[in-house]
Symmetry: C2
Subunit: 234 residues, 2 copies
Amino acid sequence: MSLPRAILFDVFGTLVDWRGSVAAGLAAYGAARGIEADWFAITDAWRGAYQPSMARVRRGEQPWTNLDDLHRDALGALLPKFGVEVPDRDLDELVGLWHRLTPWPDSVAGLLRLKRHFIIASLSNGHVALQIALAKHTGFAWDMIFGADLYRHYKPDQETYLGACGFLGLAPGQVMLAAAHNDDLKAARAFGLQTGFVSRPMEYGAPDARARPDQKWEVVADSVEDLAAKLGLG
Amino acid sequence: MSLPRAILFDVFGTLVDWRGSVAAGLAAYGAARGIEADWFAITDAWRGAYQPSMARVRRGEQPWTNLDDLHRDALGALLPKFGVEVPDRDLDELVGLWHRLTPWPDSVAGLLRLKRHFIIASLSNGHVALQIALAKHTGFAWDMIFGADLYRHYKPDQETYLGACGFLGLAPGQVMLAAAHNDDLKAARAFGLQTGFVSRPMEYGAPDARARPDQKWEVVADSVEDLAAKLGLG
């Protein structure tokens, strides 16, 4: 394996603890209004709507819709099933929780370390505005943000992986995708990118088999710091 | 005037001394090979080809072509007129000078100061790859890079100004363009953006009338630090 010139990062789950952050934000919202509910279950249901909603856009059944709007539609539909009613205007506030997620402890420092030797960029299904807000909240020192709205395609559509390589002016083989999700890496590999698996066993709240690599990825790491070390950065 | 949420920056001339940097790079190239020439005149001629070459793309006479390729074509055509011959492969090296320009002394610190309170992003006719290289070389701490290749349009086409606002999820009136060039600001204002003039009297090597504001821009500053001060950042 020759070292990549650029490393693209999946964000939700790979760099940030979306589940803990969103559940905490929902709980704080509920506590301030005296609403009781199973916020973790709501968070899981909300995230559960994520792939199906993007799949509708990918299949062309729905015109391009960014993640804020997909999140709002999904939350509006699921809250009543949990016995929770919120005014429409509060849906925007809650959708904003996805702009203020908490990074895993190694993410910020690991990215800074990699940035000295590689181009580091996000490759997320979040749109540019969401990702800018998230980077300002967390301190992710991106060289570039690749948002799904740049190509109006969601991963794993090839337009995302190859679109980012094109903007970087690099061949896919000069670029690595780092992600906590086998499916994301599988698509990246199919389009010629190098792959780095970052295990995040607590993404779903308890140790989970999805945090194990299911193929021989070029690099397997248990943190962004570990990824940097395995790419030769002492 | 209400404060903008985001400030977009023109880059060449506004944040970096393209003329001094390119002439120095050409001179170093020549010195290493015993080539003598008027490197400042070549630099000015090279930059002189910039607007006409982008205009051909804007008018659709030439398909989308990024700045590296426009620069290469222009340099290849003009060097013989200055009695300079270079091998084709060296043209790439020389085109790379535009990836390693020297910032004006206030640019890096001024951007960092603004970044704490605003979204800061480039809005340059440079493509994403060029701008990533330039940001890594200079230390520009962008929240986002808007390259002409994202929309395949060059300024002053409206797709650039309004495209960036769209990706930011902001109305044009919530966004300021900061630039050293009246024409750039004129276009931004026509599309509804706020405008900040940053005077760079030495852009062309000697005090120049183009460094004076020719309209009443919302802010007129003589450095990025001064722009920050005038936007209320003590």
